[in-house]
């Protein structure tokens, strides 16, 4: 049972070849690029969604921050589509791997921090000390603020990994429970089945929300630093 539960999170290899690269690149097939003024239905729906999201997300930034629009929009599309595809049966979700999420979080966070230090050095350094602190607390607070700054990328990555992995694991467990209970007591199995349906609805929401939260936090760090 133990090995079965975590086997679905192992990096997929087929006959020794790492096909995880193909699985990571798969969502890009589902987003064709628009060629014309009026496109087919798939592209039109995606264009409408992207415009809605980008207006919502990039409105708070100034001109300098809005240069990051392409990056943040592709980020939210990638994480959202990867999480949603992971809800299909038997599929592998790359965002359950901490390595990939760290690879996304650290460069983006570092980019915002370095941009802040380069363009607005004084203001970026001033973030380490909130206004109106008593003088004898200053050293303590600077240390705490530095720690909280360095924990941001780790928190971004671990938040995404833990949420998606926990959701998948819970669905495996409850699904296994329902199956095992079917022969013993069908009514309890029905209750667990309803729980499974509710959990699946939650997972759909979580998939999209996690993408949104990741991108929102990166944009927040950007806002602080532009």
């Amino acid at each position: 049972m133990n090995e079965n539960l975590f086997a679905s999170f192992a990096t997929p290899t087929m006959m020794g070849l790492p096909i995880v690269i193909l699985i990571i690149m798969f969502p890009s097939i589902l987003f064709p690029s628009p060629n014309r003024l009026i496109n087919n239905r798939l592209i039109s729906i995606q264009q409408w969604l992207v415009q809605l999201t980008s207006k919502q997300m990039m409105a708070i930034h100034n001109n300098k921050g809005q240069t990051w629009t392409l990056m943040l929009m592709s980020l939210i599309l990638f994480i959202g589509s990867t999480n949603l595809l992971g809800l299909l049966p038997h599929s592998f979700t790359p965002t359950t791997q901490l390595s990939m999420n760290l690879g996304m979080a650290i460069p983006l966070w570092a980019g915002t921090v370095f941009m802040g230090f380069r363009h607005k050095t004084k203001a970026a350094l001033a973030h380490f000390l909130p206004q109106g602190t008593p003088i004898f607390l200053i050293p303590m607070l600077v240390i705490i603020e530095t720690i909280s700054l360095f924990i941001q990328p780790v928190a971004l990555a671990v938040r995404l990994t833990a949420n998606i992995t926990a959701g998948h694991l819970l669905m495996h467990l409850i699904g296994g429970t329902t199956l095992a209970l079917m022969s013993i007591s069908p009514s309890t199995a029905l209750i667990t089945f309803i729980i499974l349906i509710l959990l699946t609805i939650l997972e759909f929401a979580v998939a999209m929300i996690q993408a949104y939260v990741f991108t929102l936090l990166v944009s927040l760090y950007l806002h602080d630093n532009t």
Binding site: N4, A7, S8, P12, M14, I19, F26, I29, L30, P32, N40, R41, L42, L85, L88, P89, H90, S91, F92
Partner: protein, 109 residues
């Protein structure tokens, strides 16, 4: 009258439309799969372009064939992408069959 050698001789024969050429007889290299006779099949397969560029071209042609038939139409439906997603599910099932084998309801695994 219509032999393979004729097609290499005259520019006029090369400029005929495809439907005429298939009736009269094409060289093996230019035939599509459905027009190849069964006896010619091994030599036809061996003549295909297996360089990386050829394989990439094959994937590109396959992608655009599917895309233009099901998605890039005026009234595309949900069937276009759901076929892709179903194929994805099938691919992942085949990939993880080895672990799934142990979860069948059998007395002896």
């Amino acid at each position: 009258m219509a032999s393979v050698e004729m097609w290499y001789s005259s520019p006029w024969t090369k400029s005929l439309p495809m439907r005429v050429k298939t009736k009269l007889g094409l060289p093996l290299k230019e035939k599509k799969l459905m027009e190849v006779k069964l006896g010619e099949l091994p030599s036809w397969i061996l003549m295909r372009d297996f360089t990386p560029k050829g394989i990439a071209g094959a994937f590109q042609r396959g992608y655009y064939r599917y895309y233009n038939k099901y998605i890039n139409v005026k009234k595309g439906s949900v069937a276009g992408i759901s076929m892709v997603l179903a194929a994805y599910v099938l691919f992942n099932y085949c990939r993880s069959y080895k672990e799934l084998k142990h979860e069948r309801r059998r007395k002896y695994h």
